[in-house]
Amino acid sequence: MFRIFIRQILNLTSSFFLLCFFTFILCDYFFPEGLSFIIPIDSFNSSETGFLSQIILYFSRFFEYLSNVLTGRLGYSISRGISISDEIIHYLPASMELAFVTLALSLTFGLWLGTIAAKCKDKWQDKLILSVTLIGYSLPIFWWAMLLVLFFSMWLGITPVASRIGFEYDIDVVTGFLLFDSLLSPRYGFDAFISVIHHMILPVIVLGTIPLAAITRVTRSSMIKTLSEDYINNAIVRGIPTLSITWKHALRNAFEPILTSLSLQISSIITGAIITESIFAWPGAGKWLLEAVYRRDFPVIHGGLLITAGIVIFIYITLDYISMWLNPKLRDRSS
């Protein structure tokens, strides 16, 4: 397993290196002056025109770029003048909090609903779940969000409209995760925490609809395949309790495609987060990136995309590692 771990680390670093390289090539080709915030514009200018020296020059610029990126010196935002790394540290926890909660809930409910659908294949439960997930998968997020806000927040008045917490609570930011910070601040007791959860309800529903639908469907198909295996039949015949079969034996074996689908859902959550955060005025990295595009704030767009892509790579490789841990058959692949 240790060998695999090393291999994954190598995968991670080489992927990130390639990411930086492609980003650098793209930026340098389309918008070389724009990179002046990372590579000082007058450095590495040489009058030599030989082919080899050009290549060396190009790679020197790239390594300067890479070293700045890796040490976190991503430049300063044009519209606000704050350094990009500071802004990321500020905005990322809000998005991560939303993403974690969404992922946890959609995974939980997805597994549960998918299993039910698989067990009741072709019965009304299955049909209901399939049709509802199809609808959920096809809903445009912004429309769905507005519908929910209209119904629950404005008509019924049971959920708040936007923001992470009610304005009555003046919480000092310690970790950036309001779920923790609201508990760390003793002034309001439990109320601030309830307010945070209350404010999270609609954004999590909106953001989690598509992952939920996708996970449900993948679980269903994977479980159907697993439940038709011989050993399940064998277990039933031998008298092992049904619930135990379903949840302990079948699901564990069916988990691999679900894990693969999960890593795809990460990207879906990130794109969904951009829209969800804008609609619910959730001060996260998605909203920050979107507004940077409006403002043509190139250092922010560059830094934000690099970090986002880096996070996706990291999560993908981690999930890959977990799936290899779960399924030893995947381990010995000749690389």
């Binding site: 802004e87 409209v161 760390l184 001060p283």
Partner: protein, 572 residues
């Protein structure tokens, strides 16, 4: 807990009513993954429920939430010209030597108790108020009250290019420059701790009114020295210290700004203990928040929102005829807008009545001059704008544009008081100009970027606007149409007309309103001949607020003041 039980029961029923063929007795389902969020293994102080809800209600009754339309660019009003930044900085945090009486554009004493003007109009002596305390915050404790040094610092920082703070956060001191204060104030001296004397280059009657404007806000010199010693000068614009009714508490970019009442405010502590700006750029979301009760006051409602409050008994609207103008600026530095006849043709080709009806509803009046009709010296003799596409086409043909020409029209993506929907307006103008053969492509940038680029003259034609802030016509003419403004970037048409410029400069120097009015009327005639703009509309300004908000007034000079505003206790 009840919810969890319901879910367990439901899942149990699902399993019961299904689907496997063996007759295995159903077992009670125990969820192996509880749908809860991250671990909360912290010890909590348990408060009784009733005590905490009344406590929250008490907090909410002394906290006003204002849904603002954008993030401020800075907390220092010296650096910018945008109303959003002024609402967030100069209005709550700072005071000026003189201020506007609430709800009007009349001047009243503020940090200066009284003043004397010399006979030649060039010397102004201000006597400063004693006992004015600065804000006392986590990041700075003042050791003295307001005095003359603070006025000197605030003015010199903007005027003196060698001042240690001049280049900090240098977005340019645009307002200071476009009012020509850098050349106007030849000397500012401290006669004693509470008396200062301005010596002007020439007599300038709007000078006192100009000192009530946001860029003339008074900062703390002691704070500046403290920051300089610590080597963090830029904080003066991010963590502000002033003398105003509310002090800065916290800023979460793009999310909220929190203010606390200044306990030692010289006019007495405000009834409102806390003020929160909830930054919500989307107007529909702002409206939704107002209806849901999350916000008490909403900035810049769309006309449709104003119309629909009839169905919400808790919401009332405040309106005021605005001192503003929306216009289409044609960059006279770029072809074909260097030709006054082409500009006239564009003016003739646009159907202003239809534009107003569609974009503003009934909340604006058509504009023919650069100043609004409620401003003195408005020249009503200027004929109303004509709409005649045939004449426009004829003029274009005469000028050699038989097949028309291509142009770019820049429209901002945000609402402003003077223009609730610039993009829609651009589309309507595009349709109108199509009829005379002019092909328009519409371009948009984020508002801050938009302003920067238009100030640099990168546009071909742009939809812009202006809100007058001191009830003086010079406040429209000088920052927008003077030759000086062309250099400092407020004159988006880059139109410098010598006779026009002479008239408005002369009007600034004399103090008799009748004579000034005559000069401004002449200037408007020249404007109507040259037409560097298409003046479009003067909008009424609206604000929607909850019934519980008391004492809130809109000023014709725009801007939101929270002085003396408070909330009635909520009924639940």
């Amino acid at each position: 807990m009840a919810l969890l039980k319901k879910m367990l029961f439901l899942s149990y029923m699902f399993m019961l009513m299904s689907c496997h063929d063996t007759s295995e007795p159903a077992k009670v389902f125990k969820a192996n993954k509880s749908p809860t969020v991250q671990s909360k293994n912290k010890s909590l102080k348990q408060k009784s429920v009733s005590k905490s809800t009344t406590k929250i209600n008490n907090i909410r009754d002394n906290l006003l939430v204002y849904c603002s339309e954008a993030s401020p660019q800075s907390f220092n009003p010296q650096l910018v010209t945008s109303g959003t930044t002024f609402d967030a900085s100069s209005k709550p945090i700072y005071n000026r030597l003189v201020d506007f009486k609430r709800g009007t554009s009349q001047i009243e004493a503020s940090l200066a108790t009284h003043w004397e003007v010399s006979a030649d109009g060039k010397e102004y002596i201000f006597y400063l108020r004693k006992g004015v305390a600065f804000h006392h915050t986590k990041y700075f404790r003042p050791s003295r009250n307001f005095n003359a040094d603070d006025v000197l610092f605030s003015i010199f920082r903007q005027q003196d290019t060698k001042h240690p703070f001049h280049n900090i956060s240098n977005l340019g001191y645009r307002y200071f420059r476009s009012m020509e204060f850098d050349s106007l104030i030849t000397k500012l001296e401290k006669l004693d701790d509470h008396t200062i004397k301005f010596t002007l280059d020439h007599a300038e009657s709007p000078f006192i009114a100009a000192l009530a404007m946001d860029f003339a806000s008074i900062l703390s010199a002691e704070y500046a020295n403290y920051l300089q010693q610590k080597g963090i000068k830029a904080k003066i614009d991010h963590l502000p210290i002033g003398t105003g009714p509310f002090q800065f508490s916290k800023y979460n970019p793009d999310a909220f700004i929190r203010y606390r009442a200044h306990p030692n405010y010289w006019q007495g502590e405000q009834r409102l203990k806390e003020l929160v700006f909830a930054i919500t750029p989307d107007p529909s979301l702002r409206f939704a928040r107002l209806i849901a009760g999350e916000c008490d006051i909403m900035a810049k409602p769309l006309p449709i929102h104003v119309k629909s409050i009839a169905q919400y008994p808790d919401i009332i609207s405040y309106n005021e005829s605005g001192s503003n103008i929306a216009y289409l600026s044609m960059n006279t530095r770029k072809k074909p807008f260097n030709n006054p006849n082409v500009r006239k043709a564009i003016n003739l080709a646009i159907n202003k009545k239809r534009l107003l009806k569609i974009v503003y509803g009934s909340s604006a009046i058509e504009a023919k001059n650069p100043i609004p009709p409620n401003m003195w010296s408005f020249n009503n003799d200027i004929p109303e704008s004509k709409y005649s596409p045939s004449e426009a086409k004829r003029i274009l043909t005469n000028e050699g544009f038989i097949d028309g020409f291509k142009m770019e029209l820049w429209a901002m993506p945000v609402q402003r008081t003077y223009n609730p929907n610039a993009r829609k307006m651009a589309e309507l103008i595009q349709k109108d100009l199509e009829k005379i053969g002019v092909e328009v492509s519409i371009i948009s940038y984020e508002f801050g970027t938009f302003l920067e680029k238009t100030k640099r003259g990168e546009h071909h034609a742009a939809l812009l606007g202006w809100i007058g802030d001191n009830g003086d016509p010079d406040n429209f003419f000088s920052p927008l149409l003077s030759c000086a403004a062309m250099k400092s970037g407020g004159n988006a048409s880059f139109w410098c007309h010598s006779s026009f410029d002479k008239l408005i400069n002369q009007a600034r120097r004399i103090s008799e309103p009748k004579d000034r009015a005559k000069l401004y009327e002449e200037a408007q005639v020249i404007f109507n001949q040259q037409l560097p703009w298409v003046p479009i509309a003067h909008a009424q300004q609206f604000i929607l607020a909850n019934k519980r908000v008391v004492n809130f007034r809109l000023a014709p000079t725009d801007g939101i003041y929270f002085n003396d505003v408070y909330l009635l206790p909520s009924v639940n």
